[in-house]
Symmetry: C2
Subunit: 221 residues, 2 copies
DNA sequence: TAGATTGTTAATCGATTAACAATC
DNA sequence: TAGATTGTTAATCGATTAACAATC
């Protein structure tokens, strides 16, 4: 009945002790993205080759990554989309619900609030903030825009783990400071500020242009 | 005067023949992102350790990546931000201007059109399209929203390399088909569709939630 | 059965890192 | 000079891949 892998004296591939290596965790996340999309499109089964086409990860590596955690596939058939989604969620320990606070009720904030991208992966926007008095009180999605004061009590009450910053670059650092004080551990930064945070806080800065540069390089060569 | 690296019999690190390896190209792109932000903030010099703090890439590796192309740094001082930006752009062959067509004039499209994220890296939005008649003709940024017909002639005339899709998921695949026909080679997909394209076309699907899952894993463990 | 696709091995290749001399 | 930081080496470690038996 155990879906855990025994920890022998030898470390299994792709893992260091209990933790996944960076590479494996990143790839599993990508598989999850494609699987979630595939599920929405009604696909019931997917092969490692199809996953490879969408993720650009070699199909052997996909099978290898997955087989390290169990025999999830059926030879001659492929992987069941539904069950693979829940297996990977288990491995990544992200099966639960995670609460997000969204900062900034401009175009980007509204786009995020009305999108499924976070909801599909178990992230729920529980509060939207903006410091522009003309926006406070407006309804965005199912939330009313609030002013961002007394962050600490809101973060505690709503059990907020992640803050998404869709604010102007000039406002980002001071907001980040407040968030750190309030105890937020993961900041998802859509602004162009280089955020300074203590080591226990993770900042992920969105960078579509960087992704494009990368794609362009391989197009140009 | 040559800024090129000689191609000896032995392959230099991080390169396969003429081309960068995937890893090096990805990391150089990330350095560029941080450098561009640092430049905006008025920073003139940056050390490999600082770059490491912002990119989470080991500082030795950063020095190694860079030193493969020349001696860009100054011992005891660090790297000049401006000159490193132009060196990396040269290496990635993305010094020039690249034209983008943006599809979708909703919240996300407007957020993209009014942002500097693409402009800062030499990408210029040259046209915005939407099939909603009520949006056609509206002004977004400096452009008027157009209807997306006769794509081929627009792509040719405006020399469009990249299409950015900020359209509803249901509309994405048929638009992608039209773009492929029109000769677009890179599609940046913000929808949740799993796009099917021929092998010569690159699709990059934006996935903030996946990035979050990944960050969350390391927070939870 | 025949065809397809997984799970796994074994070999190779590239990434990563600590350490330190060079030098600004 | 003293302190800082680069450029580079050498060793290790993890990622990648082709190939194929197992089996659905």
């Amino acid at each position: 009945m155990s879906s855990m892998i025994e920890n022998d004296a030898e470390t299994p591939f792709g893992k260091v002790g209990d933790k996944l290596t960076l590479g494996v965790a990143a790839r599993l996340s990508r598989y999850l993205q494609v699987l979630t999309q595939a599920k929405k499109m009604g696909k019931e089964t997917i092969s490692s080759q199809e996953l490879s086409d969408y993720t650009h990860v070699n199909s052997t590596q996909i099978r290898r990554d997955l087989s390290g955690f169990g025999k999830f596939g059926k030879r001659g058939v492929g992987y069941n989309v539904d069950s693979l989604v829940s297996q990977i969620r288990k491995i990544l320990r992200t099966s639960g619900q995670h609460n997000i606070a969204l900062f900034g009720a401009g175009h980007l904030g509204r786009a995020i609030a009305s999108s499924d991208i976070f909801a599909d992966h178990g992230f729920r926007v529980v509060a939207i903030f903006d410091n522009d008095p003309s926006k406070v009180g407006e309804t965005v999605g199912t939330h009313q825009v609030r002013q961002a004061h007394d962050l600490k009590s809101i973060v505690d009450e709503e059990d907020i783990v992640v803050a998404v910053l869709a604010v102007p670059t000039a406002a980002a650092q001071s907001l980040a400071d407040d968030l750190v004080t309030a105890g937020v551990k993961i900041i998802f930064n859509y602004s162009e500020a280089l955020l300074q945070v203590p080591p226990e806080v993770t900042v992920h800065t969105s960078s579509p242009a960087v992704d494009l540069l990368y794609a362009l390089y391989f197009y140009l060569t």
